[in-house]
């Protein structure tokens, strides 16, 4: 593989998330912080699964074991992140209640799905990076996968036969790209479930089940890569991506009518017409006159 291919693979995997970041996140400092925090939470989950793997010596070679707990920890930390944010929101609520306006709080309070998108992208990006960095680094030399696996010579033990195909890097790339985008949907759906539990909605658990289940399926299906069934793996992962995004769209209040409206095919009437686009939440909506600005130079005590 060449440098161009390494660059291309990186762009394929991280291109879509990059644009999500640029369009939806980059302009708001708070969102950037939350994005990084999402990445951090994912890293901590990785650390814990590593420690567990390291501690349980007999199961080190059992891949399923590591896989199971890795995903469990990821989902646990998705929940923890939600929990932490909720706590922060409550504190901020008190601040706003006492009449202070803090830049960014608005988005924390009033756009929970956007928050989920930001945090999910953070987690997904970190997951994608860990998935891909070594692959890209190893592939940036001149060779492509397959030679060691094809060696059948006496006295030579080839450590692992599989992936004997120069599409290997591209497949990893696509897989990672899909994973990042799926993480966004997972976070939206997962947090919606958590939120609904707090609001005592009886069907709150549906979203959680979908996320956890599809996360396991998406990882487990990659075992078929060993049989070079890249099409199957990628197909299933793509379907999971679509299902999760459909569900996310649904929980965000999406419907066929809205879809039609969005593309100018139907009336927008009857829908709760938003005042501003989703990304502009940081802009102040007309502030009540009694609201004081939180400004270092003009703090009134």
């Amino acid at each position: 593989m060449t440098f161009a291919e390494a660059l291309g693979c990186t762009a394929i995997a991280f291109g879509p998330p990059l644009w999500v970041f640029v369009v939806f996140i980059a302009r708001d400092p708070l969102r950037i912080i939350l994005f990084v925090l999402g990445a951090f939470f994912w890293l901590v989950s990785l650390l814990l699964s590593s420690i567990l793997w390291y501690a349980v010596v007999p199961l080190r070679q059992t891949l399923v074991f590591g896989l199971f707990f890795s995903i469990a920890f990821q989902e646990l930390f998705r929940y923890l992140y939600f929990f932490v944010l909720k706590r922060a929101q409550r504190g901020l609520d008190k601040l706003s209640a006492s009449g202070m306006h803090i830049a960014g709080v608005h988005s924390l309070k009033n756009a929970r799905h956007m928050l989920a998108v930001v945090c999910g992208l953070g987690m997904g990006t970190m997951a994608g990076m860990f998935l891909l960095v070594n692959v890209i680094a190893d592939f940036s030399g001149e060779g492509t996968a397959g030679f060691p696996a094809s060696v059948y010579v006496a006295n030579v033990t080839v450590p692992f036969r599989g992936h004997g195909n120069y599409h290997f890097c591209l497949m990893s790339t696509l897989s990672a790209g899909i994973l990042i985008l799926t993480h966004i949907a997972w976070t939206v759906v997962f947090w919606d479930g958590c939120h609904k539990k707090g609001s005592a909605v009886p069907t709150w658990w549906v979203g959680l089940v979908i996320v956890i289940l599809s996360h396991y399926v998406s990882s487990a299906i990659s075992f078929y890569n060993e049989k070079k069934m890249y099409g199957l793996t990628l197909g299933v992962q793509l379907i999971i991506l679509l299902i999760n995004w459909m569900f996310a769209w649904y929980v965000m209040g999406g419907s066929v009518a809205r879809m039609k409206a969005a593309f100018g095919l139907g009336p927008a009437a009857g829908l709760s017409t938003p005042r501003t686009p989703i990304v502009d939440e940081t802009d102040e909506s007309p502030a009540p006159t009694h609201q004081r600005r939180f400004d270092a130079h003009h703090v009134e005590t």
Binding site: A4, E5, G8, A11, I12, P16, L18, W19, V22, V23, L46, S49, S50, Y54, L63, G66, S70, Q89, R90, K109, A111, F130, L131, N134, V135, D138, F139, G141, E142, G143, T144, G146, F147, P148, A149, V153, N155, P159, F160, G162, Y166, S175, L179, G198, S199, A200, S222, N225, E226, W249, M252, G253, R258, A262, F263, L271, P274, T276, P277, I278
Partner: protein, 701 residues
Amino acid sequence: MTHSNFRIYLIAICVVLVPVLTNGQRVADQIYMKLDSSTSQCFRLLNGTHQVGCQSKENGNTGIIYLVESSAELDAINQDSGNYGEYIVAIDARHFDEFASALQRMPSIVGVLLMQRNSEPLGSSGISEDAACPNERTSMYSEDAAHKCDWNPTQTAAGVRFLDWTKPIFLIDNATEIDIIVKSCWETFNKPVDGMAREFPVCAATLTQFMTAAKDAPTCLRRQEMFAGLSGDTTLHLCDPLIDENIIAFLPPTNKTAKQMFEHESVFVLTARMDSFSMFSDRTPGEESAISGVITLLAVANAIGQKREQFSSAARQRKHYLLFALLHGESLDYIGSSRMLYDMNQTKFPVEASSSVKDQVDQLTIDHIGFVLELNQIGSSGGEHFAHVDGTVYSGIKREKIDTVLKDTGFSLADDSNTSRLPPASYQQFLKHSHSIPGFVIGDYKTKFNNKYYNSFADSDNLDAAKAIDAITKVAESSLKAVTNWVANESTGYTIDRDYIKDLYDCFITKKFWDECEILKRATTYLENKAIVRQKTTYIGTQGSMEARSSPIKRIANVLMVGSLGEKLPNVDTKEQCGHLSGLKKNNMYSYFWQLDLLQSDNASYCYQSTVMQTPAQSPAFLIEDYDMTSGKYSTWVESVWAPSVSLKLFLRPPPRYSLWIFLTAMVVLLVSMAICLLLHRISPLLIDAHPGADIGDPSL
């Protein structure tokens, strides 16, 4: 990276890469296969005017593997180079000499894998790495334009070792690795089917072996000296002069205090060279080129050592002396002999006179030398041996002296005319200093070497043991007779021990490693760095002044000489006491070595007092201030420093368009995802309920 960090890193790969990598391997393990069990690499040497040998680019040379068995395939590469671009040619070692110049010349060949299966003899084709006229520049005939010198039958007149390859060559002798290259790589992916080149992916190799010195010896020496002058703690290490030691022994010893001194033409020099070379590191067995002569000389030393007292007293009466000289670096422009003669001219041979030593040896100078007998390639199966003389010397006043010795040995002259020329031999260096020293060179050849592997990695397993032992015994007996007659005026009472020759032959030549036989196992008992000493290498090398790193052949020859010529000191019981004796400096006539009795089988060690000494084998070129390195008077060889990363890896190369295709796809993905994101941003207020926060302030949360 600490161990624990590495573990976490490992697990990160192991657990997180699960979706793509199902077995916790580094992806690189699936791309590259390193072959490193048995490769020797061609390396760079430089002399006063040239660089020779091989090197890769700093990051290695990469090309498509192509197995070449005939010149037709070489032509195919030449015409076909547009197909894959650059090639690494895999070639059977038997064809090396035949194709060497083509391989070196063709720019589309960026590296060579030389395959030598241990089980297969190299056949009759022959591979000499030396030139048709070895050591031509420093030869005594170098200015003789009429001299046609082609002693060495080789297809590459300049010698493959002395070509400037500018590409790496790896020698592979591990059967498994050869199978991987030939079967898994070449036949599976690259071998044309029905004359058609194969589709990508094809099998490629990267050969990495970077050498730091370039151009010529003066340049690299000057640069590292200048750089070191700039700052104390950083140095630039580019090349090192070749250096080791000669092994010499006088019998009887001289003693200036006792007025036992050399006289005019009183010394008989019996000499053989102990070095050979190859372009490949550590592949210098030199069996016929050097070892056959060494064994012969050792056998003579052993025979005389058995009767040392008798020989010495007889010699003393006649005031004659015998000098054994095993010379080092002779194959690379006579390093050892030129230094020996240089030291003689400076009256520093074997050591400088010193006022602090009581009993000290006399300094040998060139006019003390009465005769030179050189043993050069003895073992080849022809069975016939010839004496080679220089026509001018032989037709001069010394003819009679030569004839006398010749009669003792029973050898006939290869050429008795006055145009007779010596083969490449240390004796030439004597004649360069004084053109009246009688002597001759004994070899198993008449006009051309019988040895088809003269100075080459392949100078191994080519001799017929029984015939070679016969030949060595015969030459040893003749030489012994000549020596004892000349020095001690005795022709009887000395016998060559055929079993000793057999043992040495078995050790040095038949066995795969030098310490696999009893006598050399005992000989190496007290040597440092045993893992290296056992390797069959005779190359002079660069660090010879450090005992542990000097060449194995020299260290072993030293032990054997001491064993033959030494005298066990009865009252010295420990190694420390023995070492103490050499430190006393009461005399410099003797050296003291603590070693096993090589001919016994017990573990008793003794302190041997002998006249065996080491004298420097470093070219005078590096001693003389402002020496003109381009003059060709002395050897100027230096070895380039190796860059540490030496590797050979095989991998598959994807179609060249594939990466372009990926890159273009990536650009499309970038554009499309940008469009989708911007679109979503625009329509998202309509698409979803952007403000679901109605219930967020719910205190129940």
